[in-house]
Subunit: 422 residues, 2 copies
């Protein structure tokens, strides 16, 4: 199966250059990029009308199924939000709830040009089923400490097949919710498998204070002292790192995955991304879950990743727009282990989006990459292709289920969970 | 001409209640709101499929034609941005440039559900021609000090006809760009006409320091001492007000019009909206121009208006989402003098938008008004109706000119302006 995307502007994200030309996709990979395709007759031709093709965004930190709590508890202090709404709702989950809710989250990813998510949530088999049925790329991050280490090992070895839509990484939810024994056990397993590890860390000031009280160390330092992150990995949120912890990130190859939307809505803080960047720490971006965000929108996250640096440092030149675009594509792909989905290049996975340059927010044309960051919104996503398949085009979904049925299931589940609310 | 919008959810913005029913529009006004319309046969029927009708957003501070500088100078310090890019480009304007560029800005307003803009820019007749041809509602704020006071008087009396698409208000660009004589002359004219006045004020720290140096007073206090704001009006940006100035706003009925997108991108600061609200100051929202923003997107502004308060005050409950929605509709309409376009009610102007609740970001349904603020984007705008006419529907424009021609004109002008850049 060959799909030809012709007559496009192409931003490979290997650099900030834009070329004019064609991309051919054979099955799930890019088979041609250049001025003019003259290969085998394609099965499908899409005239891009000089709109922009670029790599899809990778959402490097998400809790996809948490769409059930979208706008269920806005404008509440963090403690009330978590303990009086989110936890009581989650406690009511039944079988298949996460499967259905994940599908709704995936629909939203498609509208935002997100072609893969690093999904930290419960019941991996349900997430996998939803992803595969929808044709979406998911990196599972299973952090439930109810799952035995042997199951993690089995899944790690079983799910990480090349070119599959699904892959699997090891982690814990957070230092403050995980026993020292479990932290050590996951760290040991990662060592055995030469695997990176991932967790929430440095999200709030009170988390840091709690860890210092418990262990005499700030959270990242404590985790590292337990062997966690020995093969690198990624830290989510990272609003409060000490200078020593920034050095640890650099030394161990730990990615900082920033989640600015969630952090400002919950008033957790602003990650000092410019400091991380100066220290040579690698950066990526995630949306976090819709419970706290409320949207799964990489345009919002990119915009915030830049402007929050500018305003908090009183420096309009802080955090260059193109650097942010790189974080949301290449950086996020790398932290998720998706090295074959980072840039547009022959042989890479065909996870490609088309940006509508005929949208008024993209006119007139000056600096397209930066303008995507500063004026982009879901409205400029014209196509989302994952693994060589067009799943979203001209505001229409091409998934294996009517979207009305996905909405109905999500609403039914949400109403049931809501009824048990404290 | 009767248009029936049937089978809708309706959020009038008189309160946060949502009812199910129909709205009928006769010519340019709302003629029916209720459970079920049974009046005269409508000329056009739009089935809203239980999507949400609400008042359009009013952009209470804009420089519409500045789309020419969108992404022309991102990530520059404010001084370089203004003096090395914006001013040199503006110096090259030719006749009809503002007319064409305004049309591009209006297209973008339509995609964001913005039904009126408070447009502070040069050459009012060109702005008026663009607005009327597009069917867009514009409140002109002419602040060029090259225009004689007699012309301002003539235009104020001439343009402010009831139910017209065009109205006109008095102002100055800013204290730091205007002579004391001109400030006094505009204040005197406003007194004569019993008119409110408007200006940029308290945008940056250096502006405040400069005014103190010049006049021994902070800018708002100085302006008030010169008779400006004697009949109320509106102040744009307002990041740096003293306690006394907050009291002055309350006392004189001066609206604070916040522009958070522009202020964070240019690193100007965060307006202390919660303090203003506590003091009983009336609030509205504007996008500022695309030169500094880069988009004309009320969803971005509403989101920032809330979350910047939360994160800067370390309080997730700060700045309630519904209050923000009210600022962007009712508050902005009132500061712009559009008292007939504030809420949905029989007799009001038919400036109505339809929000697509079938967009994944709006599912499942919990709190629709707040979720518009926290998860909304241009992507959820299904219809924009102004003065009874549908100008944007299902991502298509219904204006009196092909959008390709609007884009071509804007690009041609922009390329010419750019060539003269220092």
């Amino acid at each position: 199966m060959i799909t030809l995307l012709k007559n496009a502007r192409i931003l490979s994200m290997k650099d900030d250059k834009i070329i004019f030309g064609d991309i051919a996709v054979t099955d799930n990979c890019i088979s041609y990029i250049g001025d003019h395709y003259e290969g085998q007759t394609p099965d499908r031709v899409i005239d891009c009308q000089q709109n922009l093709l670029m790599p899809g965004f990778k959402d490097a930190h998400a809790h996809t199924a948490m769409v059930f709590a979208r706008s269920a508890a806005d404008d509440l202090p963090l403690h009330d939000w978590l303990y009086e709404t989110i936890f009581p709702m989650e406690a009511q989950f039944q079988s298949n709830d996460i499967y259905h809710l994940t599908k709704l989250g995936i629909l939203e990813y498609l509208t935002s040009g997100i072609t893969a998510a690093f999904d930290m949530y419960f019941v991996p088999p349900e997430i996998i089923r939803a992803s595969e049925e929808m044709g979406f790329r998911t990196v599972i991050l299973a952090t439930s400490d109810k799952e035995p280490i042997s199951l993690l090992r089995e899944r790690y070895l079983g799910y990480n097949k090349e070119n599959s839509l699904i892959s699997y990484q090891l982690g814990i939810h957070a230092e403050y919710t995980t026993s020292p024994e479990r932290i050590k056990a996951v760290a040991d397993l990662a060592k055995e498998l030469h695997a990176p590890t991932f967790t929430h860390v440095g999200e709030t000031e009170s988390e840091v204070q709690g860890c210092v009280k418990r262990y005499g160390k700030t959270p990242l330092s404590y985790l590292v002292s337990q062997g966690f992150f020995a093969n690198g990995g990624g830290a989510f949120h990272c609003n409060y790192f000490t200078k020593e912890e920034i050095e640890l990130c650099k030394k161990l190859g730990i990615y900082v995955v920033t989640n600015p939307g969630s952090n400002v809505k919950l008033a957790s803080g602003i990650a000092p991304l410019v400091e991380y960047q100066k220290a040579g720490v690698k950066l990526a971006i995630g949306t976090d879950g819709a419970a706290s965000n409320n949207s799964l929108d990489m345009f919002k996250e990119m915009y915030l990743a830049s402007v929050l640096q500018k305003v908090s440092r009183k420096d309009a030149s802080a955090m260059d727009g193109f650097d942010v675009l790189k974080m949301a594509t290449v950086g996020s792909a790398h932290v998720m282990g998706l090295k074959d989905a980072d840039v547009l290049e022959v042989g890479k996975l065909a996870d490609i989006i088309m940006i509508d340059l005929q949208n008024p927010a993209m006119q007139p044309i000056h600096n397209i990459p930066k303008n995507i960051v500063y004026a982009g919104s879901k409205d400029i996503v014209k196509m989302t292709m994952i693994n060589g398949k067009v799943l979203y085009y001209n505001h229409e979904f091409f998934v294996n289920e009517p979207i009305a049925s996905i909405y109905e299931n999500a609403q039914r589940i949400t109403d049931r969970l809501g009824k048990k609310k404290c």
